[in-house]
């Protein structure tokens, strides 16, 4: 199969044989896939500077098996200027995508969500809220979308002034089933997450806790190395 040039991001790259790279790609039309970039590690390879994460590219490839072969690459946008926090958050996003997305499943909505979060990460203000929105859209794209608009027991619309329990198997409710694994969360946070307009410390910290727990169910026991790195980075900074 031949795939013509279309928008992609490199999620990760690693050396392959002597002069090539294996790149993990998030593509708009073909989802996540792995490509061999032959000769991309040669000194004078024009692809060498291009095949870096975070930059929007156009890629073309051929696919005969699970593993494709990159045939063409060009930049589709400038290199985003990112702070340390931006880069470390991007590592986190890429690790999430590599851990959670199956290969060759198209997720065009997720691709555009990824493009907008990378743009948001180059501005420090609002990056945390943008991360939560991306996680919400990621879960939706994976088919595990959160219930954020009604009480799953009573069916009533969520009231911002009320407090709820988020039942990890079903959704938010005021009256959780006995024995259900739940997270306490306020109505205002649930509504803000639903409308993708989280703000203020309470909403951000409640949303973070919810997302971390829900993602944890899908990620399994192995911790995210990018999260660990971010934690160490922050503690270095605080010791300053």
């Amino acid at each position: 199969m031949r795939v013509e040039m279309h928008p992609c991001y490199v999620l990760h790259q690693r050396p392959y044989r002597e002069t090539s790279l294996l790149i993990e790609v998030l593509s708009r039309d073909h989802g996540r896939l792995t490509l061999i970039a032959k000769g991309a590690r040669r000194q004078r390879s024009p692809q060498r500077p291009l095949l870096q994460p975070l930059r929007r590219l156009n890629l073309a490839w051929t696919l005969r098996s699970e593993l494709g072969t990159l045939t063409q690459a060009e930049a589709a946008d400038a290199v985003p200027a990112m702070s340390a926090d931006g880069i470390l958050s991007a590592f986190y996003l890429n690790e999430l995508l590599m851990r959670l997305l199956h290969r060759h499943e198209p997720h065009p909505d997720l691709f555009s969500a990824y493009a907008s979060i990378l743009a948001a990460l180059s501005e420090p203000a609002g990056a945390e809220a943008a991360l939560r929105v991306f996680e919400k859209r990621l879960l939706l794209g994976l088919g595990y979308g959160l219930v954020l608009d009604h009480d799953v027991e009573s069916g009533a619309a969520l009231v911002s002034e009320s407090h709820y329990f988020y039942d990890l198997e079903r959704g938010p409710t005021k009256t959780p089933r006995p024995g259900a694994q739940t997270i306490p969360i306020s109505g205002v946070t649930l509504n803000a997450l639903n409308r993708e307009c989280l703000e203020g410390e309470l909403q951000l910290s409640e949303a973070k806790k919810l997302m971390r727990t829900v993602l944890g169910l899908h990620l399994g026991a192995k911790p995210l190395s990018s999260r660990e790195l971010y934690r160490k980075f922050i503690s270095e900074r605080q010791r300053a």
Binding site: F91, S225, K232, R239
Partner: protein, 198 residues
């Protein structure tokens, strides 16, 4: 083709450990050494054993060294207030050729959470204690111009800044003798952001 554990087979397998050497090349090298250059083969064998047994890491900068302190770190003429942090011993050679007169710290890699490489794998605690000795005044971050290299530079800059030392990042831009039209756009955009007064 040969008996499984014949000496020839063992030699070919051993040669395949070299980077860029596949089975065919390994076989060609083995035949060449045995047919044409047995003295060369002995020389190679002793040099390898000697190197592996006697080359360790410098205790200050961690580059390869026969002594506990490498030649650069031991040289009293080097400027110990300038510390250049690089990813590999090959980078030391490159920066040396550029005429740098300070000293180095070699990370032997870069932070790459997606490969599971964190700060502890780069022995940043040795860097920490080196900074703690008080000689270093400025740390030049010369890690690669990759996303991982940038992350590594940012991480180390936090360690440096908290000691109130100066952290600088090497500039990146158009290669000497390079025509702008052939420079990739990423490099050119860095060159534009990093422009300076003339």
């Amino acid at each position: 083709m040969f008996e499984d554990h014949s000496r020839l087979e063992v030699l070919i397998d051993a040669l395949r450990r070299l980077p860029g050497i596949g089975r065919k090349s390994a076989q060609r090298i083995a035949f060449f050494l045995l047919q044409r250059d047995r003295d060369g083969a002995r020389l190679l064998a002793t040099a390898l054993v000697d190197a592996v047994e006697n080359i360790g890491h410098c205790r200050r900068c961690r580059t390869f060294s026969e002594e506990s302190l490498c030649r650069i770190c031991a040289n009293p003429k080097r400027d110990r207030s300038l510390l250049c942090v690089v990813e590999s011993p090959a980078d030391v050679v490159a920066v040396e050729e550029a005429g740098f007169r300070g000293t180095y710290f070699v990370l032997m890699g870069h932070l790459s959470p997606l490969d599971g490489i964190g700060p502890e794998d780069l022995q940043l605690d040795s860097l920490e204690s080196l900074l703690g000795e008080g000689e270093v005044k400025e740390v030049i971050l010369a890690t690669g111009m990759t996303v991982e290299g940038e992350a590594t530079a940012h991480y180390i800059s936090e360690m440096v800044k908290k000691r109130n030392l100066r952290a600088t990042r090497i500039a990146h831009g158009v290669p000497v003798g390079g025509d702008l039209e052939y420079v990739d756009s990423g490099t050119l955009s860095h060159a534009l952001t990093g422009r300076r007064e003339v």
